[in-house]
């Protein structure tokens, strides 16, 4: 035995090399061809589509002709709610407890399994769509999805339960009036807003002491190489539409082309298209200016980085909505809609908003946060309860009409970030 072999020779071998010779390869080739034929046979089965019939049950009609009244009548409360949400998106105390959920359980007896499993829409959609295609449970009774292509798909494919508004009177009574019939889900038939947010710009005032006010400022050569954008093409595409003076919701392919031109002008100044970690990058000075979500900026400021500032660009700002949906395969839809109704009270929405600091879907929560929770910083923040003037500048994302429309958008905007 050589001297080195007391150091786990097996481990070394395992880490380094398999043993095979060219002769073995040749011998194996025939059998591989056999397995290949088998695989081809298998592949011939194809991959099932998410909506093979091309049905399009949007526009206020019941999905696939379901009689929703009797659907809801047949469901019972089960005392359990499986709730999938994004990280850092509900009130959490220093022991990791969620007061809002505990109060809900105390009041209704419904136990909540709250999971922070949604990191972004595309990857979450990729996870759930194969299951929903087959009508299988995804193990969740509420999921939170941003308005955009994936939300549209979920509704179009008939994967979202039509909400019974008679079971959620608080929503009708307390929700911000603009949320009763959002452009992406007329009549709010399938969705109830969890949080609204703004995608604007943020900058590090240590690096940019003069501040910025508009998207046009990004083109200033002195910021070259210090700008971060989101890697999501809906985000930077919408920004470019605003920057070029288009209305996102009604934008045409011509507008899209102009937006791409504008982005290509900006691109040399961009340091990175961030899928994650832009908040760290801003705090650490890797970038000076970035596209940013309002709530993230608030959280950064609270986390010891008051130098990070949020800007509502003069050209306009994007507003988005993260929506609670009940998947069609949910096992506890009654428990889910009970929570939705419970959420739309000034108390619950207030407790959660005091932590989240995005835009509260329940305007009356402002008084609750100010007078009961005694947190004027949040209650008076123009980011959490924006003024009517600020909201007037806000535009929604473009709503994709169909897959071809979405593909056209991708074909134009993807090459900007992928180069």
């Amino acid at each position: 035995m050589t001297s080195g072999e007391n150091i786990n020779p097996e481990t070394i071998r395992g880490l380094t090399q398999s043993r095979v010779s060219r002769r073995m390869f040749m011998k194996g080739a025939g059998a591989v061809a056999g397995a290949g034929a088998l695989s081809a046979l298998l592949a011939a089965c194809g991959v099932t589509g998410t909506n093979p019939s091309g049905a399009n049950p949007t526009g206020g009609n019941a999905s696939g002709g379901t009689d929703w009244t009797s659907w809801w009548a047949s469901k019972k409360q089960n005392g359990v709610l499986n709730f999938a949400n994004w990280p850092y998106y509900i009130d959490t105390d220093s022991n990791g407890k969620h007061a809002s959920l505990e109060a809900f359980t105390k009041k209704t007896g419904i136990k909540v399994n709250y999971k922070e499993v949604i990191q972004d829409d595309p990857s979450y959609y990729a996870k759930i769509s194969p299951l929903l295609t087959k009508g299988q449970s995804i193990g969740q009774d509420i999921i939170v999805i941003t308005d955009g292509w994936y939300l549209t798909e979920i509704i179009n494919n008939g994967w979202a339960v039509q909400l019974d508004h008679s079971r959620m009177p608080n929503f009708t009574a307390n929700a911000d009036r603009s949320l009763l019939s959002p452009s992406y889900d007329p009549g709010a038939l399938h969705s109830a807003v969890w949080q609204t947010g703004l995608t604007g710009l943020a900058y590090n005032s240590k690096k940019v002491p003069e501040g910025i006010t508009s998207f046009a400022d990004l083109l200033d050569p002195k910021y070259a190489g210090h700008i971060g954008l989101f890697s999501d093409n809906t985000e930077y595409g919408s920004m470019a539409l605003l920057a070029t003076g288009a209305q996102t919701a009604t934008s045409t392919h011509d507008d899209w082309n102009k937006a791409v031109e504008w982005l290509n002008k900006l691109k040399p100044s961009v340091a990175k298209f961030y899928d994650q970690g832009y908040t760290d990058a801003l705090q650490n000075g890797d970038i000076w200016i970035s596209q940013a979500w309002s709530g993230d900026v608030y959280q950064m400021q609270q986390g010891g980085h008051p130098e990070i500032k949020f800007v509502l660009p003069t050209e306009g700002v994007i507003t988005w909505h993260d929506n609670m949906l009940i998947p069609i395969t949910a096992e506890n839809p009654v428990d889910a809609i009970t929570w939705m109704n419970y959420y739309y009270t000034p108390e619950t929405a207030g407790i959660i908003e005091d932590y989240d600091a995005y835009i509260c879907p329940v305007p009356a929560a402002k008084d609750y946060i100010l007078n009961t929770l005694k947190d004027p910083a949040v209650a008076n923040s123009p980011l959490v309860f924006p003024s009517a003037a600020d909201l007037a500048k806000a535009q929604e994302y473009y709503t994709y009409k169909n897959l071809a429309d979405y593909n056209a958008w991708n074909a134009l905007f993807d090459p900007v970030a992928q180069s």
């Binding site: 194809g46 991959v47 589509g49 909506n51 990175k272």
Partner: protein, 287 residues
């Protein structure tokens, strides 16, 4: 039990598992590239070979560029792991006493104990513009105020080199460890220089170890989407990220499968040519 049937009984489960869950999925996965359709209506096998020209000629994004970039990053990182890893392996194999070899090799392997996503994220912290490393370099005036590492191709290649170094050190070490040190004296007697000992004896005898290392490191780095995503910037988009995006975001399964096939073929050709040129004819002798 008949003697003849023994290996088949022993090997059946393993072989069946590998064929069922590795070989067939691999080939079937690559065949998906010949399907057409979209995510809504589903994908059907239509033997659509033109996808392979489409992804390079008619595509809106430049997949050829991403492939070239991935190969370049992978090749550079592989070269760096050899340049850095060889002295390490040499040092452990020849310059320390036997009882120190275990701990010293263990130190090379130690980063395997940390999830590589955490490792790479820690580098993002450490290499930040206000992080400890750049601050230090700036304080001793080795770096200008605008000096940045993150977001550059160098950061991606560096991350790949860091994450894969041990895969190079180990096989080289194993190869070096097998060399009979008496050969050194013989070579030195013959040629008269230390340099000759290295180039005429040690390097040729460790060639097999280098090849094993290249095999693992090159393949791993060329397909890797993580280092580029975490450490890279605007100009580091690579083939692995493109495959992931086509698969998980666009759900264009046929495009993603075609890209995967291209990657497999490109790697296969490069490694075959390398093995031919450098004469590694029997991989089984390597370790």
């Amino acid at each position: 039990m008949r003697r003849l049937s023994v290996p088949y009984l022993l090997g059946f489960t393993g072989a069946a598992w590998l064929i069922l869950f590795f070989l067939i999925p691999l080939i079937a996965g690559l065949i998906v590239s010949l399907m057409s359709g979209d995510v809504a209506s589903g994908y059907r096998l239509t033997w659509n070979w033109s996808i392979y020209s489409d992804i390079f000629v008619n595509s809106n994004v430049n997949y050829a560029l991403f492939l070239g970039r991935s190969l370049f990053y992978g090749a550079t990182a592989t070269l760096l792991t050899i340049v850095i890893g060889y002295p390490l392996a040499y040092f452990i194999a020849f310059r320390v006493s036997p009882r120190w070899k275990t701990p010293l090799l263990f130190l090379v392997l130690i980063s395997f104990l940390i999830s590589f996503v955490i490792r790479t994220k820690m580098w993002v912290f450490l290499l930040g513009a206000q992080g400890p490393i750049i601050s230090f370099l700036q304080s001793i005036h080795l770096a200008g105020p605008d000096f940045a590492v993150l977001g550059t191709p160098g950061a991606v290649i560096g991350g790949q080199t860091y994450n894969d170094l041990a895969y190079m050190v180990l096989p080289i070490y194993v190869a070096l460890e097998r060399i009979d040190t008496r050969l050194f004296e013989a070579t030195e007697d013959l040629y008269g220089t230390k340099r000759a000992v290295f180039f005429k004896t040690i390097l040729p005898l460790s060639r097999s170890g280098i090849f094993s290392g290249i095999l693992i490191v090159f393949i791993d780095t060329v397909g890797d989407p993580v280092n580029a995503a975490l450490l890279g910037g605007r100009n580091t988009y690579n083939f692995g990220e493109a495959i992931q995006y086509a698969y998980l975001n666009l759900q264009q399964y046929n495009v993603a499968a075609a890209l995967s096939t291209v990657l497999m073929i490109a790697l296969g050709i490069i490694l075959f040519v390398y093995a031919r040129v450098f004469g590694t004819e029997n991989i089984e002798d390597l370790v």
